[in-house]
């Protein structure tokens, strides 16, 4: 049996919440809300949380605890222990692959926040125009200096070192420090954003104008499929379901201890950070200084641009002291959101090596760090060529949907709802509403199937490079043609790398399975 354990129940809940809370809570959610009906977006969003998010949280927590009972701490053998058929362990490969591939690019993103904390303290953006601040980011990701590599390595070392200290000695302590600070920083920034007045420090609008822009509901939007798909997608990514990390954290919970209340507490904490704090910072400040039209234009390219290229400039308008404080708070908040998630990505990979190959915790942590270094290098070196986005699409989007869809079918239809319902309720400190038995069996799989089918055209387009080919056919400028060809080449290379990683993990699972058979450790 594993010697790893959680120190406290609160620590476990904060670690799970930290796993879910990520940069998307602050950068993706407000942009999604603006683009999908403003305040009305919250209706499909909360419906999807109730019908897909909460059921998936309970399913993943209970799958993890069930696997842990049999000494499994990663999805290949957790899934394997739930049915006699042998192929499930290869479906479980997604629960390691996704963590490896997402951590590979996510740690780079995390390192930007660390670097921007440093730039906020060293007053890099002082006296710069908005274009100059945006140019700093462009130069940064173009690797015009060694700085991005240095911060990336620091970030990798920090993650690896914390992971090497184990669950209670590393991950839990990081979450107990990171989550309260994140909420404190978020609350201070939200207060400053909401109370901002037109005319103060050059603001053209009050904070309430931005809030109104975000929350003013367009109720006609809730009748469109696009909005529901966006809401389902946001719930999916914000809760970190379909990754395998929830199962891993929950596998260290004993069967007599609660998972139902823990799952609710961690899940709702993520919602609090996303909806209450996430909606109250970036949009009110951006609209306050740039106006609604400019913000609408900027959100077309997602929230990253607003967060890294615009906000540092806007903080500068508040004077030197507040610029430093807000810069440190904003990028510090994003850093804590990032690191508590990336730590969760390390534990399933480590759990697998420790369970199957009897590696020590430190060795597993350093091996994970080394794997992320090698896998993440293309995203750092070829960021502008689209490798980062390619990893994000395949590992951070498609893989999650596929895995969650298959795992809920396994849980509700193969493992069976009778056993499944018992697992969810075992040791429970709350009464799980019986209606969720029906929802888990019928509604959630249908929603996931719908999300997956809706993604198929996009997947086909990606594989066939049809968007780039269309642009190539229309392009006449030699430079543009070269850029597009490069983008297609690097996109294909990134996909091959990811495929090789998946096959590599599948091979390790096969070796582990054979080893188990030789040792007489039957799996299911």
């Amino acid at each position: 049996m594993s010697k790893e354990s959680w120190g406290t129940r609160v620590g476990l809940v904060l670690a799970m919440a930290g796993n879910a809370v990520g940069l998307g809570n602050f950068l993706r959610f407000p942009v999604q809300a603006i683009q999908n009906g403003g305040g009305a977006f919250i209706i499909p969003y909360l419906v999807c949380f109730l019908l897909m998010g909460i059921p998936l949280l309970w399913v993943e927590w209970s799958m993890g605890r069930f696997g842990g009972k049999h000494g499994h701490h990663s999805t290949p053998f957790i899934l394997d222990s739930m049915d006699k058929r042998k192929f499930w362990k290869y479906i479980g490969v997604f629960g390691i692959f996704t963590n490896l591939a997402v951590a590979a690019y996510y740690c780079y993103l995390e390192s930007w926040t660390l670097s921007w904390v440093w730039h906020s303290i060293s007053r890099t953006f002082s006296g710069q125009t908005q274009e100059q601040v945006a140019a700093v980011f462009g130069q940064y990701v173009s690797l015009s200096s060694w700085e991005p590599i240095v911060f990336w390595i620091i970030c990798l070392l920090l993650n690896t070192w914390i992971l090497s200290k184990g669950l209670s000695g590393g991950v839990e302590i990081a979450s107990k420090i990171g989550m309260p600070l994140l909420i404190l920083f978020g609350a201070v920034l939200a207060y400053l954003a909401i109370t901002m007045k037109a005319g103060d420090h050059g603001a053209i609008n009050a904070g309430s104008v931005g809030l109104n822009f975000l929350w003013d509901p367009d109720f006609s939007s809730i009748w469109t499929a696009k909005v529901w798909l966006a809401a389902a997608g946001q719930i999916f990514f914000t809760l970190s379901v379909g990754m395998g990390s929830i199962q891993c954290y929950a596998s260290y919970v004993k069967s007599k201890d609660d998972i139902a209340l823990n799952a609710m507490s961690a899940g709702w904490m993520n919602e609090f950070v996303e909806v209450v704090l996430g909606s109250s910072i970036i949009i009110p400040i951006a609209v306050g200084y740039l106006g609604i039209d400019k913000v609408v234009e900027m959100t077309q390219s997602g929230g990253l641009g607003l967060g890294f290229k615009t906000l540092p400039y806007l903080f500068e308008q508040w004077g030197p002291t507040l610029a430093v404080i807000c810069g440190v708070f904003w990028f510090g908040l994003l850093f804590f959101a990032g690191i508590t998630s990336s730590l969760a990505m390390g534990t399933p990979c480590m759990g697998f090596m420790m369970d199957e190959f009897k590696w020590k915790r430190e060795r597993s942590a350093w091996a994970f760090g080394a794997a992320i270094l090698v896998l993440g290098l293309p995203t750092v070196l070829f960021f502008n060529e689209g490798v980062f986005d390619e990893y994000d699409y395949w590992a951070g989007t498609v893989s999650l949907v596929v895995f969650a869809m298959v795992e809920i079918i396994l849980f509700a239809w193969v493992f069976g709802m009778d056993k499944g319902w018992k697992e969810i309720n075992a040791g429970s400190d709350m009464k799980v509403p019986t209606v969720f038995r029906f929802i888990i069996k019928y509604i959630t799989p249908v929603i996931l199937l719908y999300v997956f089918i809706s993604n198929i055209p996009g997947i086909v387009n990606k594989i066939s490079n049809s968007d780039i080919k269309t642009q190539l056919a229309a392009a006449t400028d030699e430079t543009v043609i070269t850029q597009l060809n490069e983008q297609m080449f690097y996109g294909n290379v990134a996909r091959i790398i990811l495929l090789l990683v998946w096959l590599g993990v599948a091979y390790l699972v096969y070796v582990a399975y054979k080893k188990r058979m030789r040792e007489g450790r039957f799996t299911s």
Partner: protein, 47 residues
């Protein structure tokens, strides 16, 4: 802010905040199970 936007924001945020604090408060006040439980920090307590 328009009254619909304000209402939408206040209702949503109050509900989410209340539910979040309710569940977290329940986690805090629920007494731990008899040892051995899943958590190592109370392992030295009387069994």
């Amino acid at each position: 802010m328009t009254s619909t936007a304000l209402l939408m924001m206040v209702i949503t945020e109050v509900i989410i905040t209340a539910v979040t604090f309710y569940f977290f408060w329940k986690v805090l006040i629920t007494p731990p199970r008899k040892e051995p439980d899943s958590y190592s920090e109370n392992d030295d307590e009387k069994r």
